[in-house]
Symmetry: C2
Subunit: 328 residues, 2 copies
């Protein structure tokens, strides 16, 4: 695609075929509706700062030759450690006032993948997902079994109060005034994710979440479902989704975006738009996706009013945006 | 496709476009290597009988106008109730000598889906998956949370010894002589599944399994992962997979078969062959898939020595096969 046309389509990246040694990183901190009320503006400013810091660290690593797999894991770890996103530290409460976290990671070069769900007491679920990928014969571990594996591998656990934040507790109180089960229309899904292309041209994706406020205990969303919330294949692209997980599972959204690139010849942005704006909307689902393709072109697409997102590439400095009105 | 060419390709069904009112049902009872040893022949004969009975019941229902969703649920329930397949009653033991079952179901008309994993004490996981789909705002429920939901909904539980069978116990003993974690090369995955097109042209798919013998507690395979072990969309086809679940998750196999039909213009059989014989084999994975497409054409594909399988359509009487040498 000529550079001018690429620019018009809003694709950020080093060129349609990807210059040798070019790299790209896109991250998200969830999609939803813009927040208002006391402290919202300050929280949004801090969110921007965190996203900028994560992009800066990722850019340094990718420029230095780090693998996309390492970079997406580190980016998601940093977002998990912030109380401002619904993953790790900032995970929301389920219907029983507990936290159950889930995450996944995928290596586009080998299609190796790791996923964990229904986790309690794990500070960085994305790292446990990577350990499942690299240290077991399995892809997907859940609940007590996942916890036992974490303990056996020497991962330090955190107490339940680690995950308590003023914001997630207020969310639960608001949710309890509403219906039981998954809440629709909550202001922010807050799931975090990262997708990257490294200098070798290898793709990787990772996603992590606390789920939805007031969810039934044991509910799993798309963030740990390979093919739904996360997918990466060097044959097409790397994808991380955020939003109402049930719809992303039903659409097999992440894999579907890759399939549209691989089989229907769409570029990454058009594929993401087709899935988020057509397929997902037809089902009534809300959310977004970030994509980096083989050439390193990055795109962020969402059908909500806002999505915390950021992109940096070897050709273009880091940019961060929250509302739909902002351009990346 | 002309009828002659279709027949040569081994497609069973009412025609490329599907006659109005035509229906199809395909079922499987797992893929693996042919069994030998004492009692193997008798067990295989009983397996054939069960498959024939399930096809006969499904054919009666479909001919009478039953929905594909009801028929795939009933078919999988019947296979779960047989001790001869690794699902429900015949579920294998995990590394701790326990049973953890998983299942999923999907409605191709609405893309509604339900899935359950890490279940204990549930006689028919596929029905609990359907209840998750129809009675909650969620798609995927697991572990204690899924069990609590089952209890709350009045589903009767069974004691752990319900799942004890001579064959699954022997399997565990053999597995314990080998390595920890997922065993490769086990003789039979035994997962069960069903895919159907009803007289209205609606597609549905369901899959259920006990997982792999000696798996780590908390391990989830592809059978409960929408897009991996199960997918159904009226836009393409209905798919149920069986085999080494980790590879099917990494390939997003069920959704990938649908995507090849939807975007690459392959017929259902060619799509299933591309995924099972090319993509899965490239990863080193073994197993198979059954597919019914929009037109009602049915295909069973596997890269193992055997797959318990059967097909019946409104145009052709029921046929059952086990080994690769047999034709359907």
């Amino acid at each position: 695609m000529p550079a001018r046309r690429r620019a018009r389509r809003g694709l950020a990246g080093p060129g349609a075929r990807g210059a040798a040694g070019a790299w790209s990183l896109a991250i998200h901190g969830g999609a939803g509706e813009a927040r208002e009320g006391p402290g919202a503006r300050e929280a949004d400013e801090t969110r921007r700062e965190v996203l900028h810091d994560v992009l800066a660290a990722g850019a340094r690593a990718l420029a230095g030759g780090a693998s996309s797999l390492d970079v997406v894991e580190d980016a998601v770890r940093a977002l998990e450690d912030s109380p401002l996103f619904n993953a790790g530290k900032g995970a929301v409460f389920n219907a029983r006032g507990e936290h159950e976290l889930e995450a996944s990671i995928m290596d586009g070069r080998t299609l190796a993948a790791g996923a964990v769900a229904n986790l309690r007491g794990i500070k960085n679920p994305v790292t446990l997902a990577r350990w499942v990928m690299e240290r077991t014969a399995h892809v997907y571990l859940e609940g007590e079994g996942a916890l036992a594996f974490a303990r056996e591998q020497g991962m330090p656990l955190v107490a339940p109060d680690y995950f308590w934040t003023e914001e997630s507790w207020s969310e639960l109180k608001r949710a309890r005034l509403g219906a039981r089960g998954a809440r629709t229309g909550q202001p922010w899904s807050g799931t975090v994710g990262a997708v990257a292309r490294d200098r070798d041209g290898d793709l990787a994706a990772a996603t992590s979440t606390g789920g939805t406020t007031g969810k039934l205990p044991g509910r799993v969303g798309d963030s740990s479902v390979i093919g739904a919330g996360t997918y990466a294949s060097n044959a097409s692209c790397a994808v991380s989704c955020t939003g109402q997980g049930e719809y992303f599972i039903r659409a097999a959204a992440a894999r579907d975006i890759c399939a549209l690139v691989e089989y229907a010849g769409l570029d990454a942005r058009a594929a993401a738009r087709a899935v988020i704006h057509k397929k997902l909307e037809r089902l009534g689902g809300r959310g977004g996706a970030i994509v980096v393709d083989r050439a390193g072109a990055a795109a962020c697409t969402f059908n909500t009013g806002a999505m915390a997102r950021g992109v940096v590439t070897s050709a273009r400095r880091a940019r961060v945006a929250l509302s739909a009105a902002e351009r990346l």
